[in-house]
Symmetry: C2
DNA sequence: CCCGATAATGTATTCGTAGTCATTTCCGGT
DNA sequence: ACCGGAAATGACTACGAATACATTATCGGG
């Protein structure tokens, strides 16, 4: 008994078997499979009949091997515990599925980008969407930026020459600042984080700059830099801010979970939101709209960002040497109960800078 | 110019190139790559040097083709908007990564199980974990249960002969009922859902049976069957229940998001939790522990369930004709503020049935 | 120092598909 | 009926890694 070289996933039905049964050549079977127009309808039908009867499925490995592409796209995600990221993953998956591509997922918490980059080099995937890069240097070493099928989504790495898509975080921070000031908030605080991600840095910077420009400014004691972006961090941060002699009357948190932590922490100390304290988040995750939080926040155009990223990636796979593109989409301030549902006076929405 | 047959992902470095550069045969290169012990250390070193210099990566398609396996596992997920599922996906991804397997993800909201099953038959993946099956019949048709590398996670389909892993939902429902009764709740209600998933059915049934057994029972007007499992559904449900002449003093919701919706809805109507109303959820998603909800709920042993599912799947891939296994793990009641942090009197924890 | 056993390495082949190129079939116009 | 050109089909091969089998190198014991 000759030991089979490998398990045939399909019960060993190959295009040759189909050819024999349909009394055509294997080449013709291949043509039918690939919808090649130069097959006579009668022949096509005969082959299709056999294909259906045998429940044939082409061997994907052989096909990928021969065709030189995998029809799969790699996606590196992180922190799936933060609702924004599953939502993004869902959007990516849906759009890729619509385009007939499979999605291979890696969590950067376990090995960073390296496994995805290796998969790209091995041809497991045709391209990679990096939605988070734990240590940016890691993949910078691995991939020569030159024409690599890599796109950064929701992240900007200025010195890396790949396609990149994000929303305008500077502008998002600016919007929040202008909104709070326009609504008459006087003591405005910021809960930020270790700026390992450019997105966070930009939100903070846009916020600060706008406050400066509006003559309000952000005193150091009104800035809290949390280690991570968790609910507990938000609670901790708000506790500190409320211990101040003159506690803030509004806090901008650079993401929604921090904001919810801040809200829970503030309430635990007896403060009422929004009566005593306004809180603004960032991302508009699903929970933000729920009654318990009803959080004013900044919404990123997720679907469009994903669409752009995928477009860029597929174009790049097609044409490796096209110039790289950096897309930056506009955000939207969603006003809810955590700021008393108060719209800004008309004057506030005066200009729309595009940095 | 001869058109290249396919894009070589690696810049066209093949094991033959390595062989030439290291002055050995391609077979020896392959042996080094696969850690075959019968290569002399000196030779191995020479080859490894060239491998490193050229930054060679084996062509995954060719390897998969030849070896007959993809080293990838498919995972079908659904409703990533419900935090439990990203958490599960994260656990699956981490464990698969540790075992050197890639994870291809499909969202059953877009095409059901069919794409995953097709991928299995094409050899794109070596096995499939189904964490949700929109329409069970769909894949029942497609896959002969006989020895297919398919495992159901968090779902039981009694008449389908595949490996299956879940937690004991009947027992989970029972625990909640016994807890509420033991703590003296008198008017106990249930917010359930359309039972298209066996898990939900079991939670409800375990809850009902225990109430019956304890002589409390569940009157029809204390049962609300919601269409879906969203926050809005929970709000709607609790509104109905609170309109009753004699509103409940405790509500069990078959998942956490329903429970949070119920809590927000109850508060919106002026009820205080837990003073006026106890609420219990199911799943212990991350938010359940946050201050705004602080929800008593039932926690499933997610990591262990995932581990079991992967074990079963990999065993099955290895040994197609082993008898199928149905694993059912025990749950845990997590008591929090939504039930006043009240522990049940000792008498309540009398027996541990294993159905 | 040679023999035989064993370790190390090389040679040749295989996997299934999708191409290229060669050949046959078809069909309309005469 | 015949011819020519186009359409349809078939024969053959390449892709890259892994492995069975063949061959060569190595080394210990006599």
């Amino acid at each position: 008994m000759g030991k089979a070289t490998g398990a045939k996933p399909n019960g060993s039905v190959t295009s040759h078997d189909i050819a024999r049964l349909a009394q055509v050549s294997q080449a013709t079977v291949s043509r039918v499979l690939r919808d090649d127009p130069k097959v006579r309808p009668a022949t096509r039908e005969r082959v299709m009949k056999v294909l259906a009867e045998t429940r044939y499925e082409p061997n994907a490995a052989a096909r990928a091997f021969r065709a030189g592409r995998a029809d799969s796209i790699g996606v590196v995600v992180a922190r799936l515990s933060y609702q924004l990221y599953p939502a993004m993953l869902e959007a990516i998956g849906a759009q890729l599925a619509r385009l007939g591509r499979r999605m291979i997922v890696w969590d950067s918490d376990h090995g960073g980008d390296a496994p995805a980059i290796r998969a790209l080099r091995q041809g497991v995937v045709d391209g990679v969407i990096l939605t988070a890069a734990t240590s940016e240097s890691e993949f910078l070493r691995e991939v020569p930026a030159e024409g690599s099928a890599v796109v950064l989504l929701n992240r900007i790495v200025a010195d890396y020459a790949s396609d990149q898509v994000s929303s305008d975080n500077l502008d998002g921070g600016r919007r929040v600042a202008e909104y709070l000031v326009a609504c008459g908030r006087k003591r405005i605080a910021l809960i930020g984080g270790i700026p390992r991600a450019s997105t966070i840095r930009d939100r903070e910077q846009g916020f600060r700059k706008a406050l400066d420009r509006l003559g309000v400014g952000l005193p150091p004691h009104y800035y809290f830099r949390s280690e991570n972006f968790t609910h507990a961090n938000g609670e901790q941060a708000v506790t500190r801010l409320m211990e101040l002699a003159s506690p803030p009357d509004a806090i901008f948190c650079v993401n929604d979970v921090l904001a919810m932590g801040a809200m829970d922490g503030a309430r635990a100390r007896g403060a009422r939101v929004p009566d005593d304290l306004w809180i603004v988040g960032y991302d508009d995750i699903e929970i933000a709209s729920w009654g318990a939080y009803d959080l004013t926040t900044v919404r990123q155009p997720m679907e469009r960002m994903v669409g752009q990223a995928i477009d860029l990636l597929l174009s790049r796979i097609d044409k490796r040497d096209a110039p790289v593109a950096h897309k930056c989409l506009a955000n939207e301030l969603v006003i809810r109960g955590s700021t008393g549902r108060q719209s800004p006076p008309a004057a506030a929405s005066r200009k729309k800078p595009r940095p």
